[in-house]
Every structure is written in C-alpha cells, then in structure tokens.
C-alpha cells in the first residue's frame, strides 16, 4: 500500500516524537527539545529548582558545579539558546489569552520552561516505574495469526485477519478520497498546516483494541465496530494562537465545502486532562469516518508530552497510585497550555442532537 502505519505511537496524530516525524524535527527549538528529552535528569526536584533559581538570579548563567551538573544543565543551556521571545518575561497584569505589552500571551511565554519541567517530571516517573520492568504480554498459548493486547483483550486469527483487511480498505479510502480533499483545504490558507500527516492512519494495535472493546463492552459485531471507528484516519491542523478561533471556524466551513459531513465537534479547551478541539467527520459516499483535531503548537506539543502517560493509563496495568500520578501529570501539562482567544466560544456540535431537536 505504501502507507506508513506505525504501531508504537498508535494514537498520536499530532507532534509525534522526532524519531518518526519530519513535521517537527527540523527546527532548532525542537532539536533542543529532543536533546532535553533524551537526557536522564540526575538531580532531584529540589536541586533542579534551586539551580534554575540560581541561574535566573545570576542573569542566566548556570551555577551548577561538577561534571554531572554541567551535563545535566544542557537543558538549561538549550533553553538559553532558544529564541529570545520564548524567554520574555510575562506581564503579571495580563489575563490568559491576552497579549502582554510585548505582544505575547504570558502563559505562552512560560511554556518552554513549563514544557522542560514537564519532561523532567516524566523522566522521574520513568525512573520510578521503568517500562522495561513491566511484564510482557503472554501470547505463548495463542494460535498463530491471533492478536492479544493483554490477558483479556484478544482477537482470534479470523477476526484479526478481518480487521487487518478492513484497515487496508480504510487506507485506500484515505489515500484516494479523503486526504486529497483535505490537502485542498490546507492549501487555502498558508498560515496553518496539517501536522503529523505521516501518522494519519491509526496504528493497527490501537485499532484492534478499540474493535475488541466495542465487541466486548458494547455488543457490536466486528464489522459494526470497524465502521464506528471515528479515528482510524485522523488529521491535525495546527494554528498560531492569535488566529486559532478564526482559523478553526474557517476550516470547518472549508471541509463542509469539500463535501465532508460533520458528525461531532467537542471543545476540550476547558478540560483538565487535554486541551484542543476534536471533531468527527464522515465522507458521505464511502461512509468512511475520520477525525480532525484543531490545535495550537503548544497544545499539540502538550499532547505529545503526555502521550505516553495516556498510553499507560489505557493498559489496565497501572495500579491506583500510578494512575493518580499519570493523571496528575496530564493535568499539570494541560494547565500550562494557554487558551487561545475566542477558543472557548467555539460550541460543541452533535449531529445526533441536532436531528433529535428537529
């Protein structure tokens, strides 16, 4: 088919990690960010904040001593080398979503620091709950051709083969019908773009998880479960914050002009675990559903930072304490995201409710 469908970042349509996307890896800021991510933070949180404060007090020069501290401060150095607009001081009088005197939302100005702290926190999480210590899924008794996510979620060889065949058909519809029209929508405005396009097809493992859940928990047939998948194909538009609300509204209209039908739109900007707007669409001729997410660069990056936490929460393997930590981490990252002006005014939509009200 010639279509990339990675399984390891199954639910990550936006700013996926740099090792599997060209969309964000080509900027210096992202390179610095990746370097920070790849580094294991040796300091505890008190040392970390003490050194940050000392650095700020000394006008930006790191005061750590010793080779290890110097190595650890690569993140601080990377931040100092970031564009100066990322380090501008916020105006304490400004409200969220409103520009400070220097023209930038104060919360947006804080984002690089906040993102850095969030990545450091995730490093600490990984130290406490190392992924390599998790028990592997036991598939030793499963027949060849079957699929298993964990002790409960399992597809027989026949069901597994059918899901994969249907996914090939979905990929064909994506390639021939949906993506070309969305590229047309994209071309109508040079100020925003589709990001994560290489990952527009959901990973097979995640598709199978969803199909299994629909069959087991909602009583759907395999074919129904496949047809109900809203995000086997998913796209993300990324906007500048200042143009977000206007851009989303315009792109929804453009997608309708392309013949796509909006089924559901949900505004998550006031939620605490995730921020952005997600929408579910259908291509009426084929009946193929797909998802469009509307993000700013910051909300897309936040989604990437928290993606592994979300994946872990979905596994059913974390104990209640670990789940609390994972959810707290998602809330922390989400709370740092500036809400673009006018975003909260974009209303939810449900075609079902519209039909019911008529």
């Amino acid at each position: 088919m010639g279509i990339d469908r990675p399984d390891d970042d199954a639910d990550l349509p936006a700013n996926e990690p740099a090792d599997n996307s060209g969309d964000v890896a080509d900027t210096p800021a992202h390179d610095a960010s990746q370097a920070r991510r790849d580094q294991i933070e040796p300091r505890d949180h008190q040392e970390y904040y003490d050194q940050l404060r000392a650095r700020d007090a000394s006008g930006g020069r790191a005061t750590s001593e010793g080779a290890d501290a110097g190595k650890a401060d690569a993140a601080v150095v990377a931040r100092e080398q970031a564009p100066s607009r990322e380090r501008s001081e916020p105006d304490p009088q400004s409200k969220a979503g409103e520009p400070a005197e220097n023209g930038q939302d104060p919360q947006a100005a804080k984002w690089p620091d906040n993102a850095e702290v969030s990545r450091w926190m995730w490093g600490k999480y990984l130290e406490k709950w190392p992924p390599e210590e998790r028990p592997p899924v036991d598939t030793s008794d499963d027949p060849t051709g079957s699929w298993r996510a964990d002790s409960a979620r399992y597809l027989s060889p026949a069901d597994n083969a059918e899901v994969e065949q249907d996914c090939d058909a979905i990929a064909d519809r994506e390639e021939k019908i949906i993506s070309p029209r969305l590229r047309e929508v994209e071309s109508s405005d040079p100020d925003r773009r589709l990001i994560g396009f290489d990952h527009r097809l959901k990973g097979l493992d995640r598709v199978k998880e969803k199909v299994y859940d629909d069959m087991d928990l909602l009583g759907r047939s395999l074919r129904e479960a496949i047809s109900l998948l809203p995000d086997a194909i998913r796209y993300t538009f990324e906007y500048d914050e200042a143009r977000y609300a206007q851009g989303v509204t315009a792109d929804i209209a453009r997608m309708k002009e392309q013949g796509f039908k909006l089924e559901v739109l949900k505004n998550f900007w006031s939620d605490d675990q995730y921020k952005g707007i997600n929408s579910r669409w259908i291509e009426p001729v084929t009946g193929q559903r797909f998802e469009m997410q509307f993000h700013t660069s910051i909300s897309a990056e936040a989604k990437e930072i928290t993606h592994k936490a979300y994946e872990r929460l979905r596994t059913h393997q974390a104990d209640p304490f670990e789940e609390l930590v994972l959810e707290a981490f998602q809330r922390k990252v989400s709370a740092d995201i500036p809400v673009p002006s006018g975003a909260a005014d974009i209303s939810d939509y449900s075609e079902r409710e519209e039909r019911h009200d008529r």
């Binding site: 928990l217 909602l218 809203p230 995730y274 997600n278 929460l313 059913h316 209640p320």
Partner: protein, 88 residues
C-alpha cells in the same frame, strides 16, 4: 472500601440516549484512586479505559451520567439480550 460510584450510559453511533449501547461505572476509593468498569457481554464488570479515552479527546462514544437505577436497567437489558431472556 469504595467511597462513591458514578454511573454513565455509553452511547455510540448505533445507539441512542434512550437505548444506550452499554454502561460504565467509575468507582472512587476512600484510599484514593479510582477504577472504571464497563458491564461486558460476558455479564461481568470489566476494567476499561473507554472513559479515560473520552476525557483525552476520543469521540467514539458519548458518556451520559445516570443514576444507579438507570444503570441497573441497562445491565438488565444487556443480560436479557445476551441470555435471550427478554422481559420486554
């Protein structure tokens, strides 16, 4: 020891608020933490991440908070459908 249980009707693209496809309960523990469970076609409550996914932006299902009595009605409807013992 559970502190509180919240119930949700699960509505997908082939069901309705009047006839939900399934039912989910979120159990909060006094000791902290919580657990989401959905009533499966095996007629047992199973750990699920459906609601966690919805909170993270997944639009596949709609979750409508309901009372325990309403949840029990959905459980009985699923049980009747699976066992073929319809009481309607």
């Amino acid at each position: 020891m559970t502190d509180k249980v919240t119930y949700y009707a699960i509505v997908d693209g082939l069901s309705s608020r009047a006839q939900p496809a399934g039912v989910l309960r979120r159990v909060y523990f006094e000791s902290g933490g919580r657990r989401d469970e959905a009533f499966s076609r095996d007629l047992v409550w199973k750990h699920t991440s459906l609601l966690v996914s919805a909170e993270r932006g997944d639009l596949q299902n709609e979750f409508i908070e309901i009372t325990e009595e309403e949840a029990n009605e959905i459980v009985e409807r699923i049980r009747a459908k699976v066992t073929g013992a319809s009481n309607t």
